[in-house]
């Protein structure tokens, strides 16, 4: 009988979302008229910007004409979008448009890049971090992995490991902690990578939220990064594209690694991988992304980003006023909240759900070092957050929380 990939046995079942759903539905039965406030999902809360809606419609109508017919998109993305990204997002950073590869999401890029790695590579992952990197790594049957802890003592900032790694996945501003790495902290990883001839995979999904002056918005602001780093960025959070699916990889031509003993550029392998396994992103989606980079779309979407950041500040201030230990929220729309009274992540999740009708994300879903925390997403509104803080302040005695 046909045999299946044994690595699937190593993957934890995705209890997280189904458990949240089950617990929520149980509690809702007893509170049928209560408004539940959901801060668990990192998904947009504002409608698509008008300039993006218009671009989608225009592209669709264009495709309905003989002159505007569009078939298979170019595998690496339309030149108009690649050029606009190089010009708008990488001005002065020495990234050319043909070093930018359009995709349907960072999630895809971050897991698909594994196709390029030697099976025996030693790969380092942050803990806590976005779980798809490690899960797809385990699914591929690879075994040599290293967890790099991000603890409260370190301010949740990772340090380059003492051990050798061939590849390191970083996520900054980090999901779930909401903490971003400064220039010097990133420089330490670039220095590590150059010393170890390692590759850095940088998930910059949240770079549009960066407000701290010493936090780079791109790894390519760091000297040396062009020879060791791949960066992923997305339109999901910067332009409200979670429901549209558009992101990109940046693979500088100067980035090299060893293929059967020979030092070779990496981008031709990615191009081959994509040519064989991917057929590109829909034309209207790429036109919409382009519109988001132009002045009108940029102004509209930057306003959305400021709204989410303002929610983060409001929520964080409220929690700090309640004397909570709460991190992030400055350069990212996430708060990382230490559970009070040594509660586990799930115990605190239950407490917030049952007592305040708030839904948080248990930190344990992001790796072992997420235990003892919950993540709050601030893709929300001032009104929702005020309501949440009211409940936390008035309905729940602060002494329970401390």
């Amino acid at each position: 009988m046909a045999k299946l990939n044994p690595s699937f046995s190593k993957l934890k079942s995705e209890y997280l979302f189904s458990t949240i759903e089950r617990k929520l539905s149980d509690v809702k039965k007893n509170f049928t008229s209560t408004r539940f406030l959901n801060f668990s999902i990192g998904d947009i809360a504002l409608p698509l910007a008008p300039a993006i809606v218009k671009a989608l419609c225009d592209a669709a109508e264009e495709m309905g004409t003989k002159q505007g017919l569009q078939g298979y998109p170019p595998t690496f993305g339309y030149p108009f979008l690649r050029a606009a990204i190089a010009e708008q997002e990488y001005r002065g950073l020495c990234i050319e448009s043909d070093e930018i590869y359009i995709s349907d999401g960072i999630n895809s890029d971050a897991v698909n890049i594994l196709d390029l790695l030697h099976p025996a590579s030693q790969v380092g992952f942050l803990s806590p971090t976005y779980p798809a990197y490690l899960n797809s790594y385990l699914m591929s049957g690879r075994k040599k992995s290293l967890l790099i802890p991000c603890t409260e003592e370190q301010g949740f900032i990772p340090e380059p490991p003492k051990e050798h790694c061939d590849v390191l996945y970083l996520c900054t501003p980090n999901n779930p902690t909401g903490v971003a790495m400064t220039r010097s902290q990133l420089q330490a990883f670039v220095t590590y990578a150059l010393e170890h001839e390692a590759l850095l995979f940088i998930d910059s999904a949240y770079s549009c939220f960066v407000t701290s002056p010493d936090v780079p918005k791109s790894i390519y602001e760091i000297p040396g990064a062009h020879t060791c780093a791949i960066e992923w960025k997305s339109f999901s959070k910067s332009h409200g594209f979670t429901g549209l699916r558009c992101a990109y990889s940046v693979i500088p031509k100067t980035l090299k690694a060893r293929l059967q003993g020979k030092k070779v550029a990496i981008h031709p392998l990615w191009e081959k991988r994509q040519a064989i396994k991917f057929n590109g992103v829909a034309y209207p989606i790429q036109k919409a992304a382009y519109a988001g980079l132009m002045p009108e779309g940029r102004a509209q979407t930057e306003k959305q980003v400021r709204t989410y950041l303002s929610c983060a500040r409001q929520f964080k201030k409220g929690l700090l006023d309640l004397e909570q230990r709460c991190y992030g929220g400055v350069d990212a729309p996430y708060l990382w909240w230490k559970t009070p009274k040594e509660m586990s992540a799930w115990q605190f999740f239950d407490f917030l759900l049952e007592q305040c009708h708030l839904i948080a994300m248990p930190g344990i879903g992001f790796g072992p070092h997420g235990e003892g925390y919950v993540r709050l997403s601030t893709f929300s509104s001032e009104e929702e957050i005020s309501l949440a803080l009211d409940r936390l302040t008035t309905k729940v005695s602060p002494c329970i929380l401390l």
Copy 2:
């Protein structure tokens, strides 16, 4: 230094398209006012149907409102689309909506399914066939493969191999030969699969073009298929979606294989794979696909399919009138043309390009058994094909062709 996947060395460089481009550009220099007719690419030639354009615009506008906000799509597809496919495409075939998984293309599904297979699986591939299956298999580092020839003597219909395979990739109606398998021919493969406890992966990208009464439009018309077959279908050719990207996998719940000695259903593994590695298809694209299944969109797109088929008939008749050996074109928009005078595929490509200013696809791009053939795509127009046949008939002496 970080090491790359050595399997990339085994992949042939993609000379095909770049060679075609180079040859075309060389010839064009000497014929600046000539109209070149391109039959090489299997891509749509008609604009998006009005009902699909409207659905795209409506969805975009909906997403621009507070009530119509759409974030991350469901990983497996929106229930409205999965239900419509089950109802419209699988009526009476015992396929439920939750056995249908929406994706961005058959290419993605056909290569991603490899994640589920045991590394030591023996996998059979047709020759000639769509090259992504084998290329992605080689990229994954797997080695146990078997080529199943489709020769002129067999009418390009494959036969179940004598050897054991754990998995067989079939493509029917076939790209590139344009030949489709009948009920009894498919039954032979289902019988093989049941005897060998093997899995069948059926690429049905061109099923909407089937006109022969004894050719099934779905593998699930064959008894036993629900316990051995995964089927892939796409909106690309049936609904003009190559520029929009929407397709689906059908994985019946009754489909099982062995995971570490235990017989298990396959669909939970696919669900896990997709949950980790894929974030779903854009909302407007799924709404557009849905519109294509409703009466108005269906009528408009079925007319497009009839146009492409009528082109195929016209072209085939013209070639047969010129006493050429030419196959396909009845159940698919492809013609498979035996090169005259024992020319190689590339020699005949050059002849057609230089003498008739026609661009064909050299059959060798689809595997070793494609040598000695070219593929003509009939995503075209009556006018273009008349012009092509005129050139073949009058400008080129028929004696050269024979």
